[in-house]
């Protein structure tokens, strides 16, 4: 809203003086802002801050990028702000999926629409996983499912906040298997880990990057990864798919911009994202920081969104998460 007000003021002033603003040919004409829907320090923020200098380099022309944190409601606040900004390529957003798609579902008034954005390229993919403590009696996914079948609704599963991506992973899993677990909300990803490590709950769901060190240290075991194949970092972690449960679920992050962008600006940004993703320096940095890179072009990401959306809308009808 703030951007629009300002543009309106500028437009009025320009009209009054009787000149026309020059076309977008001189992109970038000012600092490019990347909005991040989470506070400084989290994985979305650190991914953005790691990528920003490389995006600057590949956009070229002395482009300068500022990372702006607009935390709130799992990214909704930033998405609203981005959807209302001028579509001139000077405002970008690091989206966090699936929250990007799930937030508007079931709201009386849609805060924004996934069609408000142009998707310029996916940067990371971090699958969710069902995990237990090392000393847990549940050796495999089958053990856990068997227990849930015998005592429906009594197996405690920790996952960050109600309605969040990890909770939805559990709901999707329940819908797929027809089982029911006792969902116990945790205070974020860190809370999920402590609850499982401390033996306060039976199992937990969180992202792969958070789990890798614990699995390597043999403190936790992944009993089912919701990835399409076994993660490269942990080849011993079985996927849900190979155990007969067809659930794919993970956090995707990438660059989007309010649309419609001028063609030349969109192409230039999309190329910059692609070039960043194949920049050896960036790949090395990401590896060191434990950022799980996965490039997808805008269209490929859109297809994932569309497939998931129909499934999520069905899920909302049967078991609304709010």
């Amino acid at each position: 809203m703030h951007m629009k007000f300002r543009t309106a003021l500028c437009a009025m002033a320009v009209a009054a003086v009787g000149t026309t603003a020059s076309a977008q040919s001189d992109y970038p004409s000012r600092t490019i802002e990347i909005l991040v829907g989470f506070a400084a320090g989290g994985p979305v923020d650190s991914t953005t801050r790691a990528a920003a200098p490389f995006l600057e380099k590949h956009i070229g022309d002395g482009a300068s990028i500022a990372v702006i944190n607009r935390p709130g409601a799992a990214g909704v606040v930033a998405s609203i702000a981005a959807s209302q900004a001028d579509p001139d390529g000077h405002t970008l957003m690091m989206y966090s999926y699936p929250a990007l798609a799930t937030a508007p579902i079931g709201q009386d008034e849609e805060p924004y629409n996934v069609d408000d954005f142009e998707y310029l390229g996916n940067v990371t993919s971090d699958p969710h996983n069902f995990f237990v403590a090392q000393d847990s009696p549940y050796e495999t996914l089958d053990d856990l499912m068997e227990a849930a079948r015998e005592n429906p609704g009594t197996i405690n599963v920790a996952a960050a906040g109600s309605g969040g991506a990890a909770h939805l992973a559990l709901l999707v899993f329940e819908a797929e298997t027809g089982l029911s677990f006792n969902y116990t909300p945790a205070d974020g990803g860190a809370g999920t880990l402590t609850q499982v490590l401390g033996g306060h709950v039976d199992a937990g769901i969180t992202t792969l990057s958070a789990l890798v060190p614990y699995v390597e240290e043999e403190q936790m075991r992944i009993i089912a990864s919701f990835a399409d194949e076994r993660p490269a970092a942990l080849p011993d972690a079985p996927t849900a798919r190979e155990q007969g449960v067809d659930v794919l679920w993970g956090a995707l992050r990438g660059i989007a911009a309010p649309g419609p962008l001028p063609d030349d600006v969109r192409d230039r940004l999309a190329e910059a994202v692609e070039a960043t993703m194949s920049d050896p320096e960036f790949i090395e940095l990401a590896e060191r920081q434990g950022i799980p890179l996965m490039y997808l072009d805008g269209e490929a990401f859109r297809e994932i969104v569309d497939t998931d959306l129909s499934r999520l809308n069905e899920l909302w009808e049967t078991s609304p998460w709010q």
């Binding site: 300002r6 000012r30 802002e33």
Partner: protein, 149 residues
């Protein structure tokens, strides 16, 4: 206004706030409403005790809120400034804000204020833009100039 009547006013506002919050809490779904409702009941009870006590046994007659017009003016200027920072830009609004605020609350030495404002803005620019790399809100005046050119 005496301390006693200020307390009576505060008591009335607290009771009104409790009622308002209670009505809002009624629209919360499920067991999420339980904890807030319990707190509101306690708040309403204590507020009532406070109100009754202030009416019945308030003894303090010293004046509060002296020079209240300065308080109101400082508040209003701060609100305008908050909006101006977001919409007009930081430097422009600060150049106006510091002298106006200082003048309103009683400081009337133009040269002193001019130097202070300048030094302050230089420090802030250095800290935010250079050291912390947090962009200050952009200046509408500059943008206007740029688009006119």
């Amino acid at each position: 206004m005496t301390f006693r009547s200020a307390e009576v006013m505060a008591g009335l506002m607290l009771v009104a706030f409790s009622v308002f919050a209670w009505r809002e809490a009624a629209s919360i779904r499920g067991d999420a409403a339980f904890f807030p409702s319990a707190i509101i009941v306690a708040l309403g009870f204590f507020s009532l005790v406070y109100l009754v006590r202030s009416v019945a046994a308030g003894r303090r007659t010293e004046a509060v809120f002296e020079r209240w017009w300065i308080f109101v003016a400082a508040l209003a200027i701060s609100l305008i400034y908050a909006n101006a920072v977001a919409y007009v830009g930081y430097v422009t609004s600060t150049v106006v804000f510091i002298p106006v605020m200082a003048w309103v609350i009683g400081f009337r030495r133009p040269a002193y204020i001019a130097v202070t404002t300048l030094v302050y803005l230089l420090c802030v620019y250095f800290m935010f833009e250079v050291v912390f790399r947090r962009p200050l809100p952009s200046e509408m005046l500059l943008e206007l100039l740029r688009s006119v050119r």
